[in-house]
Structures are given as C-alpha cells and as structure tokens.
C-alpha cells in the first residue's frame, strides 16, 4: 500500500460522517429546487398560506378600510352632487316610467273589464248615476277601483289604552303598543284643544287613515287603506254603531275571545 492509498483510507475513515451529511444536503437541495422550479409543486405549498392571509385580509377590510371608504364616498357625493344626480337620473327616470306604465296598464285593464260588462246591472246603475250627477262614467269607474279597504280593527279601553280585542288580516303591527300610542295621541289632542265632549276621530297617514269611533268606556280604531271620503266615513260609522248596539254586549268587552270572533264575523267583508 503506497502513501496515496493510505491517505485515501485515512480520508475515508475520517470523513465518512461529513460525506453522508453532504450527500443528505445535496438531496434536500435537489428537492427544494424541484419544488421552487416546478410551478405545480410550489403552488401546492404556497397556496394554502396565501389563501389564509387573503381570508384574514378580506375579514379585516371592513374594520381597516371601511371607515375611510365610507368617509371618501360621503365627501365625494357631497362635493359632486350634480354628477351623482346626472348618474342617477336616467336610472330613476326609467324605474319611475316603468312603474307608471305598469300601473296605467293595470288600471286600463280594470276599466276595460268594467266597461265590457256593458249589460250588467251595476253598469246600468253607474250610467244613470253619471247622467244624474254630471260626473263622467270614467271618473266613477276609477273611483270604484280605488276601493276603501278595512285592514285592522282595534277595540281599546278608554283612558288606559289597553287593548280589549283586535281583528286584523295582517300581523305587521304590535297592536298593544299601537293601542297605547293611539290613546296617548288622542289624549294629547283632546287636552290640547281643551274641547268639551269633542274627541279625535280621524288620523291620516299618507295613503292610510285611522278612523276612531268613540263609545263611553272604549273606542274602536279602524285602519283603512285607499280613498276614505265622507261617504265611506258615514257608512263605516253606521256599521260600527250597529256593531256596538246590536252585536256586542257588556260581557263581550270583558271577553277578548268572544269579541274577536264577533268582530271577525261582522267585518268579514274587507270593503266598505
């Protein structure tokens, strides 16, 4: 064995661990290279991290950028009102036009339907009414179409404003709180005008009216939609008086269930 061979053997003995380590490093670098250089491999590793960060960012946007965006939008709208109007006008205009067209079409269909029943008794009656009153037949038809609808009935104890009974086709109001507030408004108006024996009878709210029929210990409030004219008022008053005098008695006022049944039966027709 010459010197060189001896040195080689000695190197092998002394550097075995380092060589193995170098070889494992080499393998790892190879894998890393493959991961970095091949798009699919890289995205497999990086995508979940980016996805997590992105989700966090999206979640944080309303908190971090929300107030700034709102403020910017507000000031932009305030400073460029003309531009906003210009941008909105065609859209709103189209919407309104479409709505009106639709409503006119519905109305026209209803008028046609009414006129088609030329030989009906109702039509004949309308023709006579038109001749006698001088109001055009078309106006009478339109009037008929805007029928007065009775939506809700509340029987309320005077003074306390406690609800005795209710009858309603929709459940969109809290009747007990409305009964209280109505009573408060009634009390306020009646106090304010310091009127003896005069009571609040009607409240108008855009297309809705609340008619109040007063009795000695209670009052009946009726929520009405549609046109509510003197003629309707008189008819409703007659009905409510008849209901109070001939349909219910004192015991009913203490029995919510029976009063509700009677209200339901008597006012089953929702139109006046």
């Amino acid at each position: 064995m010459n010197q060189e061979d001896k040195l080689k053997v000695l190197k092998d003995i002394l550097l075995t661990d380092e060589r193995e380590y170098a070889s494992s490093i080499h393998k790892k670098i190879k894998i890393l290279e493959e991961t970095v250089n091949k798009k699919n491999n890289l995205s497999e590793k990086v995508d979940p991290i980016i996805e997590d960060r992105l989700q966090e960012f999206i979640k944080e946007i309303p908190k971090t950028l929300g107030p700034t965006i709102t403020e910017t939008l507000k000031s932009e709208i305030k400073n460029s009102q003309d531009a906003v109007v210009e941008a909105m006008y065609p859209i709103l205009g189209r919407m309104i036009k479409k709505y009106i067209q639709n409503e006119i079409q519905v109305l026209s269909e209803k008028i046609n339907q009414q006129l088609n029943n030329t030989f009906s008794f109702k039509n004949l009656k309308r023709k006579i009414k038109s001749k006698m009153s001088g109001v055009s037949e078309a106006d009478l038809i339109i009037n008929e179409l805007q029928q007065t609808k009775l939506n809700q009935f509340l029987v309320i104890e005077k003074g306390s404003g406690l609800l005795i009974s209710k009858y309603s086709k929709t459940d969109d109001i809290d009747e007990e709180m409305v009964a209280g507030m109505l009573t408060a408004i009634k009390s306020f108006v009646e106090d304010a005008f310091k009127s003896n024996n005069q009571e609040l009878e009607l409240i108008n709210y855009e297309t809705y009216s609340i008619y109040i029929q007063n009795f000695s210990s209670y009052y009946i409030a009726v929520a009405i939609s549609g046109v509510f004219q003197a003629e309707h008022r008189s008819k409703l008053e007659d009905k409510l008086l008849d209901f109070a005098q001939n349909v219910i008695n004192k015991t009913d006022l203490k029995n919510t269930e029976s009063l509700t049944k009677k209200l339901k039966a008597y006012f089953s027709n929702e139109f006046i």
């Binding site: 306390s160 609800l163 809290d174 709180m177 209280g180 408060a184 009390s187 306020f188 009646e190």
Partner: protein, 163 residues
C-alpha cells in the same frame, strides 16, 4: 292566564326613567341622554306565577319637575306607578314626600314603587348618611347602567298588580 296592565313612570327630567325601561325591556343601556317628549310606550311580559303572565304596557312619560303638571289624561286607567328619582341630584328627591302624597291623594289604591336610580354613581356610605331622606319612602335603589335590581323592581310591581 294572561293579563294586560298599564304602568306609568313618573319623575323629574333626566332621572333615568327611559333608561330603566330600556334596560328592562331590551336589556340595553346608553349614556347618550335623549329627552322623552310626550310619551313613549313599550311592553314586556312578566311571568309572575306558573300560570299567570302579566303583560306590562309601560308608559314612559316625559319628565316633569312638578308632578302636579303631569298630564292627567296619561294617568287614566293606570294600574301601577313607578316614581323615579336621581340619587345624585338632590333637586329630584328634596320634595319626595310631597310628590308621593300628591300621587296617593290623586291616584288612590294604585300600587306605587319608589325608586332611587343611578346607584352606581353613589357609595353605600352616601346612602347611609342620607338614610333619613331615602329610606322611609324608597322601595329600590337601582342602576339602569349596571342592571342593578331593575328586573326585580318591575317584577315586584307586576306581582302587586295581580294581588
């Protein structure tokens, strides 16, 4: 069995009537003071026994420095009264006896609960020192902010209403 009862809250401006009601009905509190104009009505059901539910229709009347000026029509048909004063403002309780006498004279036989509110802003020592002014008349020391004895006060009155 379910019964509806009307209760009204009386007292000077800013004593916390609306805050007590809001705490009781909605379990919320705000430091932003908004004066009540006229009347505000809220309701809450209280189960007083296994078989009896009292539906409290709560009338939150606007504050009045002179109780005699309370609109009488708002008081009609009242089943119960809660008189509220502010523990931190002597002007709201200096005429306590006179105010309570007025209520008892004009609304006889109606259950009343007298409430010293804003307890969170005073110490027990303060309550002890002013015992003579508060104790003979007061039923509850409450705090709408800290939710101290608010439910207890309303439910005790609800029980009294069905006796």
């Amino acid at each position: 069995m379910s019964l509806s009862k009307k209760i009204v809250l009386l007292g000077h401006f800013g004593v916390g009537k609306s805050s007590l009601i809001r705490r009781f009905v909605e379990d919320t509190f705000t430091d932003n003071y908004k004066v009540t104009i006229g009347v505000h009505i809220l309701k809450k059901e209280v189960e007083v026994t296994d078989k009896t539910i009292v539906n409290l229709i709560i009338w939150d009347l606007e504050g009045n420095d002179d109780i005699a000026n309370t609109r009488p029509s708002y008081m009609l048909g009242t089943n119960g009264i809660i008189y509220v004063y502010d523990l931190t403002r002597p002007t709201t309780y200096q005429d306590l006896k006179k105010d309570l006498d007025f209520i008892k004279t004009n609304y006889a036989n109606i259950p009343i609960k007298v409430v010293g509110n804003k307890k969170d802003l005073v110490t027990n020592v303060f309550l002890k020192e002013n015992e003579d002014a508060f104790q003979p008349y007061t039923d509850f020391f409450t705090s709408a902010k800290k939710n101290t004895k608010v439910d207890k006060m309303f439910s005790t009155l609800a029980k009294d209403l069905i006796l």
